[in-house]
Symmetry: C2
Subunit: 171 residues, 2 copies
C-alpha cells in the first residue's frame, strides 16, 4: 500500500473519532474529546485532557474533582453552546438550557439531560508537559439512564461530530 508521509501535527488529524464528553466542574461545563479510561482495577479510573487556558483546568485544579457527562447525538447544540464561550463570563447551564444534577460523591454539578454521568475525584495529574493537562479521576459513581444505548453516543475529531457506527462483530 502506497503511503505519503504527513507533517506530524496534521498527521494526528487523521485519527478516528473519540467519544465526546461534557466535563463539569463546580457550575461550569466544557466539551472535550480528550477523554479515556485509565484503569479498570483496583479502582476504576478515567482521564481527561484539558488545555490550561480553559477555566475548566483551573477549576479541576481547585476542586480536585470533575463530572463526565455523555451527550447524545441529538445534543450537539448543547455541546456547541458550551464550547463557544468561557465559563469565566457565562453560566453555561443557563446558557445551554440544561439542568444541574447533584451526584452523591462530588460537590460539582452533573448534567441531568445527559444519559450517563460519572462522578470522579482527581487522584493524579500527569506531570509530563504538553498542550493539554491530563487529570486522572477515580470513578466514584456511574449514573445511567436505563434506556441508554451506545448507539446514541456522540464522537468528535478534527472538526467533525459523528454518530456511533454499526456493530460489525462481537469479540
Amino acid at each position: 500500500m502506497n503511503k505519503i508521509e504527513k507533517e506530524i501535527s496534521n498527521g494526528l488529524q487523521v485519527l478516528p473519532a473519540f467519544p465526546l464528553v461534557l466535563v463539569t466542574v463546580a457550575q461550569n461545563i466544557m466539551p472535550a474529546a480528550g477523554f479515556h479510561f485509565y484503569s479498570f482495577a483496583p479502582q476504576p479510573s478515567v482521564m481527561v485532557g484539558i488545555m490550561p487556558e480553559h477555566q475548566t483546568c483551573s477549576l479541576i485544579n481547585s476542586y480536585r474533582e470533575f463530572g463526565i457527562n455523555l451527550p447524545t447525538k441529538e445534543q450537539i447544540e448543547i455541546v456547541r453552546v458550551c464550547g463557544s464561550t468561557s465559563g469565566k463570563n457565562e453560566d453555561k447551564y443557563r446558557l445551554s438550557g440544561v439542568t444541574p444534577f447533584k451526584g452523591k460523591h462530588i460537590a460539582s454539578y452533573l448534567i441531568a439531560e445527559c444519559p450517563v454521568n460519572l462522578e470522579c475525584s482527581v487522584v493524579y495529574e500527569i506531570p509530563y508537559p504538553g498542550s493539554h493537562r491530563w487529570f486522572i479521576g477515580q470513578v466514584q459513581a456511574v449514573h445511567v439512564a436505563p434506556e441508554y444505548s451506545r448507539d446514541q453516543a456522540l464522537t468528535y475529531w478534527s472538526k467533525e461530530f459523528r454518530s456511533m457506527g454499526e456493530v460489525l462483530a462481537l469479540r
Copy 2:
C-alpha cells in the same frame, strides 16, 4: 431523566467506542483500545495503555518505542488473530498474513496493510498505578495512504467492534 446507579466497573462498559489500533513493537502485534493523543505541541504525542501481562508491555519497556497502525473495518480478522494469541509463542505477522513495513525513525516494524502508521518514541511512562501501563510516545512520523478516510476506521469497546458513524455536523 431517571437514572440508575451502576456498579462502577460495569459502569465503565457503558462508554462509547474508542479507536482500535494495532500496536507494533519489534516484530510483535497487539490490538488495543487504550489509545489517545496526549499533546499536540510542542511535540505531537500519543499514549497507549497496555496490561503488564502482555508481551507488548515488556517489549515497549525494552525497545522504548512503538508503532501505531490503524486497521480498517475490513481488517477485523487481522485484529482477531493478533488478539487471540501471545507474541511469546507466535510470529503474528506470519499468523495474520500481514507484511512488515519498516519506518524511518524506529526499528520496530509497522504493518504495510494498515492505511495509517505512526512511528513513536517513548518519552514517558505514567507512574500512577492501575490495570494498564500507559506509555507516552512522541510521534516521529505519520504515514497515510492517500485514499484513506476516517470512514474506514474501526472502533471497539465492551466486546463490540464498530464502524465509524456518519458525520452529523462540522464544528
